[in-house]
Amino acid sequence: MNKEYEILQSSKVSRASGFIAIFLIIFLFFAPWWAGRADIRLLSEIFLYLSLASLWNLLAGYCGLVSVGQQAFVGLGGYLLFALTIFSGFNPFAAILVSGILGALISLPVAFLIFRLRGAYFAIGTWVVAEVFRLSFAQIQSLGGGSGSSLPVGIVKSIASSKAMRESLTYWMILGLTVFILLSVYLILRSRRGIALIAIRDNELASQSLGINILRSKLFVYVVTAGLTTILGGLIFLQKLRISPDAAFNVNDWTAFVIFIVVIGGIGTIEGPIIGVLVFFILRETLADLGSIYLIMLGFVAIFVMIRAPKGIWGFVSSKYNIELFPLSRKLKEIKGE
């Protein structure tokens, strides 16, 4: 019996979802023409959370680096935007890009420290780092100390003369970055390094014995994630135009919500954060008036999902119907057999 096989990494569903994604991106690109200002703000926020969630999912779901301190880099990005534009006269968009590089560089010594902690202790270690950042920035009096400061009008005006144009530009930056981040996460996971990461997640001992360098792969992802999260932080506070240590390094806004999105959508899947972010915003837009009751409900939902369906909504759907929108696994197809 001779059979020949072909290794497939795409399917009808995944090709279709690729086309739909392209159309969706084009459609969203034109949002400033068909959507109101409030909708643009909401869309921007959705994209920012989608990006944060995808990055956190890459860290926690694929590398086992469960960070509860990503707000360190969000806040850092915000503060670097303010510092670079106010003190060094950078254009805001240039400042955001430069801050991404700085964020990645700063994450190296941070990683040197916290990679000594394992598992849940790593998680709390990342939190301590975020607290150190928060307390340190609160000491910088020229950026308003503990009470924070606003972006000077001159700098805001330098982005674009009209308010509408400024908001559209920021929106396109956010949309572009989101597409870039989703694509990068996907490509990282499809690369040799990504395959190694998935192998590590599924069996650390076996991949160690196969000579996969775990530490280097994890460090790579940590640094890339830190840089991109810093850029996101810059964009978040370019939208807000005002920063304070408590808002910039807020564990609820930049980490807790992100974790809920990923857990509810499906941790360790590319599709999970997309589903999760939709569920999160639908819940928020309908229930946000409830205030802290809404957060209590989120907490219960997350616990319920973690115990009953640890792979989240997408994990449940994909195991039931065996589909992947962004295929990472390879399927064997018989092309000739006797």
Binding site: A60, G64, V66, V68, F112, L113, I114, R116, L117, R118, G119, A120, Y121, A123, I124, G125, W127, V128, E131, V132, L135, S136, A138, Q139, G146, V251, N252, A256, I259, F260, V263, I267, S292, I293, L295, I296, L298, G299, F300, A302, I303, M306, I307, P310
Partner: protein
């Protein structure tokens, strides 16, 4: 003289930090669970103590008689009802479930008590102090708090190493499967460990609530202080944890002496220095 005074204050508050840490350390030692909601449980017991002592008109310390059993039972039920289901090879479920629990506790407290800071009143003991030669004066309250903290760590040490329950804790920690073959119910043992952790949490919560004001969002920084004391002292060593708490308290007080804004930061920096140079802590015993 001021400096010596701040160092002494730091040592005394270090006892409280060691209590934050001891409960965390105990459950990590027995079941490798890191409870992200630990700090929120400390604040929860402070609020419970506040409600019970004001509504029944009891001294905060007397309210412990009521709050301790409530929290211990809550811990046991929480462990058996939810947390045991999350334990396994994957570290994500316990982490995320206790993170969810933390959000639930914080927001429930906010809903019930509002965001206003609260404080418990323990009467004259709070301001009474002991004058020492050389112009030093030590508050009775911090001193009592320190002595009781040391005592509690001693009792935990005794339970862990000298009693049948402690033997069961250590056996289950070594090898859950074999412990079950010896007739130890893992779920029950873990429930008991969480109940004891909650007893320590409650005492820490009441001490904290008398010492300073607290609000529903105060939990996470208590978790972090406890965590730092554990790592500075070294995993699995309760006396090490006490030293870790003292180092943290002293660093914070020295930082505050230099610049009031540096108090908490100085503690974090002490932690980072230990992590950089002695990653396993000063008195390490078990691997994480």
């Amino acid at each position: 003289m001021d400096w010596i005074n701040s160092i002494i204050q730091g040592i005394l508050v270090g006892g409280l930090y060691a209590l934050f840490a001891a409960g965390l350390s105990l459950i990590f030692g027995v079941m490798r669970l890191v409870n992200i909601a630990h700090g929120d449980l400390i604040i929860l017991s402070a609020f419970l103590g506040l409600t019970i002592s004001t509504s029944l008109n009891l001294h905060p310390f007397i309210s412990l008689i009521v709050v301790i059993p409530i929290m211990a039972i809550f811990g046991y039920v929480l462990q058996r009802g939810i947390l045991n289901k999350t334990l396994g090879n994957d570290i994500l479920p316990p982490l995320l479930v206790t993170f969810g629990l933390s959000i639930i506790i914080q927001n429930s407290l906010l809903e019930i008590y509002t965001a206003d800071p609260q404080k418990m009143n323990a009467g004259v003991i709070e301001v009474a102090s002991l004058s020492l030669p050389g112009g030093l004066s030590i508050g009775w309250y911090p001193l009592i708090m320190f002595v009781i903290s040391v005592l509690i760590i001693g009792i935990l040490q005794f339970i862990f190493y000298k009693t049948a329950l402690g033997r069961a804790f250590r056996a289950t920690s070594d090898d859950q499967e074999i412990a079950q073959l010896m007739g130890l119910s893992k779920n029950h043992i873990f429930g008991l460990a969480m109940a004891i952790s909650m007893v320590v949490v409650t005492i820490a919560g009441i001490f904290l609530g008398v010492r300073t004001s607290f609000d529903p969002a105060a939990g996470p920084s208590r978790l972090i202080f406890g965590f730092e004391a554990v790592i500075i002292g070294g995993l699995g060593n309760l006396w090490g944890t006490l030293i870790g708490g003292i180092i943290l308290g002293v660093s914070q007080n020295i930082g505050a002496k230099i610049n009031p804004g540096w108090q908490i930061l100085a503690g974090h920096i002490a932690f980072i220095i230990v992590l950089a140079f002695r990653p396993k802590g000063l008195f390490h015993r078990i691997d994480g």
